[in-house]
């Protein structure tokens, strides 16, 4: 097989033909045909695939691909003459595995359909997931089938083969072994994997003179160092949000950015339950609108640099309230306090905190320097929160230095010729290193550069050799979560291309022939308390074809196998959390006084004194997801921008600079500059500019941009003005307008609209998102009553009599309905990604978004309310609400959208001719029309691999057809079938649409409203449950629960 292209073509055009092909057969059986990891003596790959198949599932049995080699050959022999136990063709299975990001793992439950994983959800047993799943983890299923993923070994950017590489490698290794790894450097991303850590240790002992550097853009070094200052080395602070009644989120986002964000969200959401009398209060003080800021009860926009003086001021105020705080730091001068509501805030906050000692929690985001973290810990301890709302975990003391410092050292070593061989594992430093390091240039001074990565990216282009990395869903690995819970990551399918995982490559470099599987198994058994020495003696699992049910676990031949099967099945090893250090005490430390600039009020800042902060916008992370169209098109939850980053300016900063949305500006600092478009975001602190990282990739692929392919990249790369010494913030930016314009694709009209529209939107936002304070709610629980918000006709009460065509009768046993609790929604976008991957929602492209044709079925409506400089954001998930009296149904001339007896507003794609009348008549505008064939890319053979992700129970819609939320009708059907087969009635919770399934705070609840005891019935009966646009007599099946803010009376009027 000569080229990648022909391979992909054949691969999909004719499975049978390919399956016959001996070379193909070969590499199906042995991932590394030319590498010979399958040498006799070790557990063969064939063997471990058999084992794997036996031991996987959460529920039962092996997927058809997993219990034997050669998954494609399977297609020819269906139906099985002897069907593997538990395998039902056409039925999906879920397997537990892991998603590792930034050195922390999140448990997943991956749905697999006949051997191909199609959907990622959270593993309910995993503490960092609890069933929910982050947007990134969900989107990684699309990355698995990304046709741009690296498929071939490249030498100097040109296709090569394993033989040539091996020749090169043996020469290089011979030299390295001789000199003990002299001038050998490894650059890797921080990893959660314990096995990798072991292999790393082995590697470093095999090459004792080599150095290992870890680097990732959004690392948590500041947080770790903060904990170290406050509690000593080897500590990590874990929050117990469930116990916190007052939460102060300081310039970060404990609800989405934290490794345990999903658990935080769940615990936070559980305590946003006014009916149960549980209502925490969330304050957010931040330099950029975060999801915690959107969810907060009170929010104060402050520049990044002002957090320290703010905390010092708070410390002073707490002292005044009689809280004993060690530390000599002085309170910032009164000038600082005067500015921008700060004094009132500090006063009110101190009072609230002092009154809730032991029940409050201060959290700080990773972009803030270590000192600020330490200071917050000091306040937490002083408030008696230690051991209550936060605990100190004992972890291994950090041995490596700060990542930004480490990569700087590495770059300077490379520049001074101290590096002969550079091995890069997964990282993409040529793009993600800060601009001052000029990492790309430094790479040119290194003789041997080997890059292992999922993509032939910027770093690969500069490397001597690029090796394709195995996708995480196709290899054995493991990982520990933030709290230490250990899990095994099992592969869901064989690697699609010849590739190495990081573990496998390191083993190969050491000349070892053991498999990753064996190593992971050994690690896992050790973690589970097994005796590693005994492992060697034991025979491997000999019953691979047995179903992986609890019975199968019990049936395993020996204890280790039982343990192994169980932990793979569950996806966690219990009791592996880091120990809580109950004896942790606050260290004594002092804080350097804040620099005078940070005390400046917003109004006194001049151009040239502005600060810029570098953020993660929840879409492309550090750029690694830039080639994921679904993420690129995901509207940012505050700006609603797609396909771009922009310089986010507060309206007053924009006014001062005389720039408008979409105008290009040059940000200049220290002789370096970047140019990017302006986007004004109310609530951004004046004088502070936020820019998302991860955009403007040079070699990402057909979606994320590529110079090689002449594909323009979405967004703008700002690394040029970043410094490794101050990675997330820089002060002293000068801004000049360049006069050029740029088109930003936002899915929602921006605030810069005509006055008529602006005023009406302000007025209407409150009628759509009905919010009130807790106190008001307790006085008037039925405050959401539609008659108070909109024009309401008496005809509503006579619904049935007044129907022109007669009201539909809903007589079926089940009546589906949904409830969305606006008090719990934090706008994290995970539900949209869940819907996208479940329902094959197409990516329309930036040009289509500019025309207003985005395709997401579910959207988060965002409205600003109040002061432009310090607004609150009203946010609301909106998808089809399945009106009982649906306006869309009346007007369809071909009856393509109809009601089922169970109350679903069905869309019959086959019948739809695309008049778009239903769209016009839908008051919520939730219908999405295929103006073009948005799957046109699938015509190209290389792109056909994308179809592997497509949910077989969902139709792919062609152009000219209307689509919209179906309440995941395929899941309803499946659950009903299952219940029928099991001869039992459907139970509440059997059916969970994708959005509800992944919602971290359980804001979305689905169920049968005929069942009086179902969760959704109970929620819909709450006094604050309302249907949007009640005046239209829609009788929606999705109802909103009014948003309750737990307002601090002292701040209510500020």
């Amino acid at each position: 097989m000569s080229s990648i292209k022909s391979k992909a073509e054949n691969y999909w055009r004719s499975l049978d033909e390919l399956a016959e092909n001996s070379e193909f057969q070969g590499y199906l059986h042995r991932e590394f045909k030319d590498v010979n990891v399958d040498a006799p003596g070790s557990v063969s790959r064939r063997r471990f695939m058999q084992l794997m198949g036996a031991s996987l599932a959460l529920s039962s049995a092996s997927g058809c691909i997993l219990e034997g080699p050669g998954m494609w050959a399977k297609e020819k022999i269906l139906p099985h003459t002897r069907r593997p136990a538990g395998l039902v063709p056409g039925q999906t299975k879920s397997y537990a595995t892991l998603f590792n990001l930034g050195g922390f793992s999140q448990g997943l439950s991956v749905t697999s359909y006949e051997g191909r994983p199609i959907k990622i959800e959270g593993n309910p047993l995993h503490p960092a997931s609890l069933g929910a799943c982050s947007t990134y983890a969900q989107a990684s299923i699309l990355g698995l089938y990304d046709p741009d993923r690296s498929q071939q070994i490249l030498q100097g950017g040109k296709p090569s083969d394993a033989k040539t590489f091996d020749k090169y490698l043996s020469k290089l290794l011979g030299k390295l072994k001789a000199n003990g790894g002299q001038n050998l450097r490894v650059l890797a991303e921080p990893s959660a994997s314990v096995t990798l850590a072991k292999v790393k240790a082995d590697f470093l002992s095999a090459f004792p003179k080599a150095t290992w550097t870890e680097f990732t853009t959004f690392n948590r070094d500041n947080v770790d160092e903060g904990a170290q200052i406050a509690f000593g080395a080897g500590t990590r602070v874990r929050y117990n949000v469930a116990k916190a009644e007052i939460i102060v989120n300081l310039d970060g986002d404990f609800l989405t950015e934290h490794p345990e964000a999903l658990r935080h969200t769940k615990e936070w959401g559980d305590n946003r339950n006014p009916e149960a009398g549980k209502m925490n209060r969330l304050y957010a003080v931040e330099s950029h609108f975060s999801s915690s800021g959107v969810s907060s009860d009170h929010r104060l926009p402050l520049r990044h640099e002002q957090l320290k003086p703010f905390l010092l001021a708070l410390q002073g105020a707490l002292k005044a309230h009689g809280v004993t705080i060690e530390g000599p730091e002085a309170t910032p001068n009164s000038g600082f306090l005067k500015a921008h509501k700060i004094a009132a805030w500090v006063k009110a906050l101190a009072k609230d905190l002092a009154a809730n000692q032991g029940k409050s929690l201060l959290t700080v985001g990773y972009r803030q320097p270590a000192e600020v973290h330490a200071l917050a810990h000091r306040l937490n301890v002083a408030l008696g929160n230690l051991g209550k709302t936060l605990s100190v975990l004992g972890i291994a003391a950090k041995t490596n230095s700060n990542q930004y410092r480490a990569i700087k050292t590495l770059a300077s070593d490379m520049n001074t010729g101290k590096v002969d061989t550079l091995l890069i594992l997964g990282a993409n430093p040529a793009y993600s290193a800060t601009g001052d390091l000029k990492f790309g240039e430094a790479m040119n001074k290194v003789k041997n550069k080997i890059h292992l990565g999922l993509y032939a990216n910027e770093t690969a282009a500069l490397a001597t050799w690029h090796l394709p990395e195995t996708h995480a869903l196709a290899t054995w690995s493991d990982g520990r979560s933030f709290s230490g819970t250990y899990s095994v990551a099992q592969p869901l399918l064989e690697p699609l291309y010849k590739s190495h995982s990081q573990i496998e490559l390191l083993l190969k470099l050491m000349g070892r022939e053991d498999s990753a599987y064996a190593l992971v198994r050994a690690t896992a058994l050790t973690m589970a308390g097994g005796n590693p020495a005994a492992l060697e003696a034991e025979k491997a699992d000999t019953a691979p074809s047995a179903a992986n049910t609890d019975t199968a676990v019990a049936a395993a031949p020996n204890k280790n196998d039982r343990t192994w099967r169980k932990l793979v099945q569950d996806g966690i090893v219990p009791n592996t959390d880091y120990p809580v250090k109950t004896d942790a005490t606050l260290q004594s430390f002092s804080i350097t006084p804040p620099n005078s600039g940070s005390l400046n009020s917003h109004d006194n800042l001049k151009n040239g004194e502005y600060e810029i902060t570098f953020i993660d916008d929840g879409k492309v992370y550090d750029g690694r997801f830039a080639n994921n169209g679904s993420l690129q098109e995901l509207p940012d939850f505050t700006t609603k921008l797609t396909w771009d980053n922009a310089a986010l300016l507060s309206p007053s900063t924009a006014k001062t600079l005389k720039v408008n949305d979409g105008q290009m500006i040059k940000l200049e600092i220290g002789g370096q500059s970047v140019t990017l478009p302006v986007y004004t975001l109310p609530g951004q602190p004046t004088g502070s500019i936020a820019v998302a990282l991860g955009y403007g990739r040079e070699e990402a692929g057909h979606v994320g941009g590529s110079a090689k392919l002449s594909v323009a990249s979405p967004g703008f790369d700002v690394s040029a003005i970043r410094r490794s010494s101050s990675a997330f913030q820089r002060k002293g930016v000068t801004i000049t307008a360049t006069g050029a314009d740029y088109e930003l694709a936002s899915t929602q009209n921006h605030h810069a609209i005509d006055d008529t529209g602006y005023q009406e939107r302000e007025r209407r936002a409150h009628t759509l998102i009905r919010e009130t304070s807790l106190a008001e709610y307790q006085k008037d629980p039925g405050y959401v009553d539609s008659t108070k918000y909109e024009h309401h006709l008496p005809v509503i009460d006579k619904y049935k009599q007044e129907q022109l065509f007669g009201a539909l009768e809903y007589k079926a046993d089940h009546q589906w309905g949904m409830s969305i609790d606006l008090s719990k929604c934090n706008g994290c976008n995970a539900c949209i990604m869940a819907c996208n991957t479940e329902n094959i929602v197409p990516v329309a492209g930036k040009d289509q978004v500019l025309k207003g044709r985005e395709m997401q079925w579910l959207r988060l409506d965002r409205y600003f309310a109040g002061d432009e400089e310090d607004p609150t954001i009203l946010s609301q998930p909106v998808a089809c609400v399945h009106c009982e009296n649906a306006p869309c149904e009346q007007v369809c001339p071909v009856a393509a959208t109809l009601h089922t007896e169970e109350g679903l507003n069905d869309m019959v794609y086959n019948r739809c001719v695309g008049t778009r009348y239903c769209l016009n008549n839908c008051p919520l505008k939730v219908r999405r029309f295929n103006y073009h064939n948005y799957h046109e890319d699938l015509k190209t053979p290389e792109n056909k691999v994308k179809t592997m992700q497509f949910n077989p129970d969902v139709t792919v819609r062609f152009r000219g057809v209307m689509e919209k939320c179906t309440y995941c009708i395929q899941r309803i059907k499946q659950a009903k079938d299952t219940a029928r087969n099991e001869k039992r009635p459907l139970a509440d919770g059997d059916i969970t649409p994708a959005c509800a399934q992944t919602c971290g705070s359980d804001a979305i609840v689905f169920g049968d409203i005929n069942d009086k005891n179902s969760r959704v019935s109970k929620l819909r009966k709450l006094a604050r449950s309302y249907g949007m646009l009640g005046g239209l007599n829609l009788r929606p099946r999705t109802e909103m629960l009014g948003k309750i803010r737990n307002v601090n009376p002292d701040l209510a009027k500020v």
Partner: protein, 471 residues
């Protein structure tokens, strides 16, 4: 033979009202033979004049472009237009309603005015009807190609099928299919039937064999016997009676597309009468647009006299004022309803991002017809031509304002979006004019553009007592 009637000099003034005496509807002291000659001479020309060719080639080119656009549309999908998520209907529907509206005047003139014994309608009925038929053809192109899956367009018709799947009879779009379909059928029937005696005249006068055969076929054996005339008059009256309610129904039903939805700005009970008035307004505007140059170029000034034009302009004035009243009433109702969303829809029309479209509409439709209060304006052909063009522009914008501005900002501000047309929106509007004028020019070339028999019937000579001595 040159008759006075085909000279383009205006020989008399028939615009004055003389008490006790009916004004003449043909001028130039023409007799029956003059009229026949004047009208038949146009399709009988061996070589039609160069201007016709220029106009025809231009129209056919534009029509060809229209065809190419449609082909591209079928290839690529409706995404080539500017429609988006809130604005599901854009220019194609605007064009559809625009053309259906224009198609109104023909039937109104030929049927309603016939029943009301408005004899002046006889000179303009033929080409007003032709205009109707062609406008309906133009209109009918749009809904068909506008849908997402054109190849399934026939599902809109109640065709029995093995799935026993019927269309949704509750949908106004389906009513539309029936209303426009009926209207097109009756209009074509009425137009063709009224043409029979004239086609026979052309047959009888034909100088070449092929003409004799072709006109012979199309005149369906008309001999002009009394029995033929008797039946012709009966059927014509019945067809007029049948067509009359259609004048009201077709645009009422088109307005239901909007009125029965619940979109603010669409959902109003005033729409049926308002749409009918607007349709008559735009239809007469188009008749004037066509009549003025036709009578100029083809020597019809003494058959389509200034009095005819004056009468049409009065109708434009009346219907234009009705439309203006409807505009005002929409605002009043929005205010009176106390429904904020409804109120915003109208404030947004006049002062939102589409304010310019709204004020173009008001200037053209409400202000410009008011000039017809002045006699000079009503009776000066070049001036009324200009006004009629404004009326056409205004009525197109009326449909644009209703369709697009209402959709672009409805209930949820999150979904508001500004609609921007693409090149194809513009080209296809232009292309529909290519189709219209191609058909119209072919009509002028081959068929008597004025009803010969009917004009004769209203000439003084047709009066049995003509030249009789009165005691």
């Amino acid at each position: 033979m040159t008759s006075a009637v085909i000279s383009n000099d205006i020989l008399d003034d028939n615009t004055e009202e003389t008490p006790g005496k009916r004004a003449l509807l043909t001028l130039g002291a023409a007799d029956f033979a003059d009229v026949t000659e004047a009208i038949c001479s146009v399709p009988e020309q061996a070589r039609i004049n160069r201007n016709w060719w220029v106009a025809f080639l231009a129209s056919v080119s534009v029509l060809g472009m229209f065809g190419a656009c449609i082909a591209y549309l079928l290839w690529e999908g409706v995404g080539i237009w500017g429609n988006n998520n809130p604005v599901g209907w854009g220019w194609p529907i605007v064009n559809f309603v625009f053309w259906v509206g224009i198609g109104h005047a023909g039937t109104l003139i030929s049927a309603v005015l016939f029943l009301f014994r408005q004899k002046w309608r006889n000179s303009i009925a033929r080409f007003a009807e032709a205009m109707t038929v062609f406008a309906v053809i133009c209109a009918a192109t749009f809904p068909g190609i506008h849908i997402g899956r054109v190849w399934a367009a026939y599902w809109l018709f109640p065709i029995p099928n093995q799935m026993e799947m019927w269309p949704n009879f509750r949908s106004p779009l389906l009513w539309d299919v029936f209303a426009v379909g009926t209207y097109a059928t009756v209009s074509i029937l009425f137009w063709y039937f009224g043409m029979l005696p004239d086609l026979a005249t052309l047959r009888d006068r034909a100088s070449t064999k092929i003409r004799k055969i072709m006109y012979g076929i199309f005149s369906m054996g008309w001999t002009g016997s009394s029995r033929h005339w008797h039946r012709y008059e009966r059927v014509y009256l019945i067809l007029a009676g049948l067509a009359t309610p259609l004048v009201l129904s077709v645009h009422s039903v088109v307005s239901f597309d909007f009125a029965t939805s619940q979109l603010p700005g669409w959902h109003t009970t005033i729409f049926p009468p308002y749409f009918v008035a607007g349709a008559i307004f735009s239809g007469f505007g188009m008749v004037v647009t066509l009549a003025v140059p036709c009578r100029e170029f083809f020597g019809m000034k003494n058959l389509i006299t200034v009095r005819h034009l004056d009468n049409m302009n009065k109708i434009i004035l009346v219907t234009g004022s009705m439309v203006g009243y409807a505009y005002a009433m929409e605002f009043f109702m929005a205010w009176y309803s106390a429904n904020e969303i409804e109120q915003f829809a109208f404030i947004n029309r006049a002062f939102g991002p589409y304010w310019w479209a709204y004020w173009i509409m008001v200037s053209c439709n409400v202000i410009s017809p008011q000039l017809f209060w002045f006699k000079w304006c009503r009776q000066t052909p070049w001036f009324m031509f200009v006004v009629s063009i404004f009326v056409n522009i205004g009525m197109w914008f009326e449909r644009f304002v209703i369709t697009v501005t209402s959709l672009s900002r409805d209930f949820l501000p999150s979904s508001w979006a500004y609609f921007e047309p693409t090149m194809f929106d513009g080209l296809m509007l232009l292309g529909s004019f290519g189709l219209f004028f191609t058909l119209f020019l072919l009509f002028i070339r081959w068929v008597p553009m004025v009803a010969i028999a009917e004009v004769k019937a209203v000439m003084p000579e047709a009066d049995p007592h003509y030249k009789a001595e009165h005691e």
